[in-house]
Symmetry: C2
DNA sequence: CATTTGCGCAACCACTGTAGTTGCGGATGC
DNA sequence: GCATCCGCAACTACAGTGGTTGCGCAAATG
């Protein structure tokens, strides 16, 4: 499959949200403003922020002067949790082909591979766990 | 994108190849035999084994009594190299949306994210690096 | 040397997941 | 009431994957 860019966009959105929130005052940050930063459509933004809302990272309010805001401090948003929120199925997937029961390898490979995949994804999450949204904000600000 | 299962199938094929090679004697293992184990088409097998051939893991010969064979010992085939061979673009991808030059975050996020992604993928490869085809064969045989 | 067997490659099709878009309903504040 | 904004569902367009067929070439067998 075309490998998804949801994770990248989600992180981008969280950064932009943290950034714009500072200047927005009481008003929420609208999906249209966020969409401008990513150069995409407000609905795409809302879809993604829907997952992040369910995961407890952001909160949105409807109505005039509505919009989004972070639901917790950037230092408490770890990237591994963001990945899990927008890509719940993981990155390494087994093949769905039916197993050939006449073949030892075909019968035995999937559980073995599953274990390998699980360990590899744990390693990936462990790496992302060390990064928070606050870290990224610092780096983006330093670069700009 | 529908996340690809090339890696899983490639590992399955390598296992099956190692397994069948033992009983095949001088003859090569044909793509049709391998296809039976994965329950797929010989052409799909050949496509994937094409990548693995270019990476130096297997070798195929045409002609009568042709087929495939491992080009090096299972203990020398590390899974991270297999992943790199069949999925050269990596698993985490940046979004392709044009950057909004009026936005600090949009301008700065991609290099920062790129660094984070690279580190995460390194962690994933480091985990896979510890597993060789020989390890998997041992596990599959123990389970069967 | 003809035949058989099997790989290599290109072309094509069907399927699927993603991003993009529109439209409508409901909430919120002026 | 009315404007603004989120939430959600439906639809479209596109891209990547896996599956399939067809043809050319290589190699072994008789």
């Amino acid at each position: 499959m075309p490998t998804s860019s949801r994770f990248a966009v989600a992180v981008h959105l969280l950064c932009a949200l943290a950034f714009l929130e500072a200047t927005a005052g009481e008003r929420g940050v609208t999906s249209a403003e966020l969409a401008k930063s990513v150069n995409t459509n407000p609905v795409v933004v809302r879809r993604l922020l829907g997952s992040l809302t369910r995961a407890g990272f952001v909160a949105g309010r409807g109505g005039r002067s509505g919009g989004y805001g972070l639901a917790r401090s950037p230092a408490k948003i770890r990237l591994d949790a963001v990945l899990a929120a927008v890509e719940p199925d993981g990155l390494l997937t087994l093949h769905a082909n039916p197993t050939n029961r006449a073949c030892t390898v075909s019968c035995g490979i999937k559980p073995v591979l599953g274990g390998v995949f699980a360990e590899a994804e744990r390693a990936l999450h462990a790496s992302l766990e060390r990064r928070t949204l606050a870290d990224l904000l610092r780096q983006v600000q330093a670069a700009g």
